[in-house]
């Protein structure tokens, strides 16, 4: 039943993306409205799926890697709706965001069920879910920021080159994109900090020491440092626009390594492989 909901939401997201495509082409308000409505429907099914799934995970204490990807795609849609409610309107984002959501969802079907996290009852404590959720939400915000930064780079290039083509007409103003990316940066950073702290406390409870220098920990620290530098430069010097957008994209590549390579192949207690 739960898997059916997941599949259904994948299908509905695809339809919604087509709707956003129509909006991107025509910039008609109705197209946007229908696309968002369809997206919301898909999101409801996806949420239902996760209600079932979280119950299942807590009862069986088994967490497969494929569900992390699924959860990330759910989160991205949630963040999209959060930003829709904010006063800065960045309507065409859906067209760029949904491919990422769809890729994550489809990828999650390719990973076999057997890639488990060693997640035994012995680890059970409130710090663990806190660590997992804050970690995943930090990923969500940073990924959303990456999409926004990508849009920024596309828009900025057209304006700088004085060749005002498709993107100039369809994409939101640079200033708005920059501000949304900034929000994503702050929120992602806060969640990442929480994830590291709660992870450390949990590690202390479970293993007796706060920091164990596993590959995952190291690369997360690098990611944290990148974003810390970015925030520092933005607040003090005023790094923004293109430079900030490129930094975001650089952070994304580090994240890719952290999420796919380290999680699946490296040895250590974060890994899902062995």
């Amino acid at each position: 039943m739960a898997d059916f909901f997941s599949f259904l939401s994948l299908f509905i997201y695809l339809i919604s993306w087509i709707g956003f495509g129509f909006y991107f082409k025509s910039l008609k308000k109705e197209a946007l409205r229908y696309a968002q409505l369809v997206l919301l429907t898909g999101f409801c099914f996806h949420t239902l799926f996760w209600v079932f799934k979280i119950y299942q995970i807590f009862t069986t204490s088994l967490l497969s890697f494929k569900f992390l990807l699924n959860f990330l795609s759910w989160e991205l849609v949630l963040i999209y709706f959060l930003f829709i409610l904010s006063p800065i309107k960045i309507y065409t984002t859906g067209f760029f965001l949904l491919p990422l959501v769809l890729i994550f969802l489809i990828l999650s079907y390719f990973f076999p069920q057997e890639i488990f996290s060693p997640f035994s009852p012995y680890f059970k404590s409130l710090w663990f879910p806190l660590h997992a959720f804050t970690g995943l939400f930090s990923h969500g915000f940073l990924l959303f920021g990456v999409i926004i930064s990508l849009m920024y780079v596309l828009q900025e290039r057209e304006i700088k080159k004085k060749h005002l083509g498709v993107f100039f007409r369809k994409l939101p103003p640079l200033e708005y994109l920059d501000r949304v990316a900034e929000k994503c940066l702050y929120l992602g950073f806060i969640f990442l900090s929480f994830a590291i702290i709660s992870g450390a406390i949990w590690s202390e409870i479970a293993f007796g020491n706060y920091w164990r220098w596993s590959p995952k920990e190291v690369i997360t620290l690098i990611l944290w440092l990148i974003y810390a530098v970015l925030i520092h430069q933005r607040v003090l010097i005023g790094w923004r626009g293109k430079k900030a957008a490129y930094m975001f994209l650089f952070g994304f590549s580090v994240w890719l390594i952290s999420f796919f390579v380290i999680n699946l192949f490296a040895k250590g207690f974060h890994t899902y492989g062995s």
């Binding site: 004085k162 640079l174 790094w239 430079k243």
Partner: protein, 465 residues
Amino acid sequence: MGLDITILLIGLNHKTAPVEIREKLAFKNPSSHPLEKIKKEISSFKEGLFLSTCNRVEFYFILDPDKKNQFLTEFFSFIERESSFKWKDLEPHLYFLENEKAVKHLFEVACGLDSMVIGEPQILGQVKSAYKEALNYRTSGLILNKLLHKCFSVAKKVRTETGIGGGAVSVSYAAYSLAKKILGSLKDKTVLLVGAGEMAELACMHFVSEGVRKVIIANRTLSKAIELAEKFKGEAYSLDELPQALIKADIVISSTGAPNCIITKTMVNSILKPRKYRPLFIIDIAVPRDVEQEVNKLENVFLYDIDDLKSVIEENLKERKKEALRAQVIIETEVFKFQKWLKELDFYPTLRALSEKAEILRQNELSKTLKKLKNLSEEEKKAIEILTKSLVQKLLYYPINFIKKSYHEEGKYAISLVRQIFELDEPFKEISETEIEDLYLKIEEKSQSQENSSKNTDPEGILIQ
């Protein structure tokens, strides 16, 4: 029966006639409108419309086909008298379009397809006021009313369904839309004018009307800067203080007459840090240019000179031309619809439509009743059928007689009226019982309350007396 009216268009525009001819035919004399004169002097037309803008002068007439030649000779002599042109000299510049082609032309004009700047929106307002004039002088009748209303709805449709009005096509609007794409909302932004020239002032007006927060002026002679600053309620700087002014600004409009560059790359580079890398949009409309080309390479600085803006406009015009093709399709279908309306505006088509509609209603009601009454004999069924038929025939006798009798006097008015009353030009839709009940209930309530109020006021009236 075919059409017994002709829609005639006589006109000239920027493509067919030079401005010397257009201005003489524009009838810009405010004391007398050409329609007023034409109405007095020429009697052989039914309806008329006069459209005059800086790019075109057009007369639309509705005529009897038989009287066309008589009308044309009268009209030619009228024009000769009014414009001091010989008809022979004028004729090569004019275009004469009839019926379908005239309708199509009017639609194209209203949509801005025939304008110098394709898709410009002012023309629709000009058509609207031309129509108002025609109403004023009572030269617009049944046909023109329908034609113009159709024309307005076509223009609206074309505007919403195609991108004919999209993209900036003037320098100041192009600058404005670029600023919006870079800076988002302009409400909390500051504009810096470098040089207190007229060009900069004009460009600035656009930003001011869109609500920028503040205007700063930097000029070689400070007194002129102060003068302009008072006008915009802003601050004035001399050119030496340009870096300080640049720190505060978000949008720079430069238009000095200086022979070399005033804003250099090193100058802008030095203010980036104090500005905290806030985006800066520089518009250089001066020739020779005021701003070094290299400035555009700096981070978060966007420089557009006058040629850049012009190429943006050209791109937009190309885009509009593409959209014009899509507009043509819409216009053609609407012309077809109008022609259809015109053809049906006749005695026999209306009669047919009316009796068809009545027959559908009769059949529907009959089948409903027969379903309820199952135990009827064939004879009884026939009797009911005859009853409904004669009821419908008797009711329709009045409108049909009305059209027939008044057809020669009021022309197509009677037909149009009947068509409107019976909704013959709209697709058939079933009227529900509740709708009918509601309607009658409301009427009854109103009439009762009116009776009551007249009763109530009576005694008061006596008291007052």
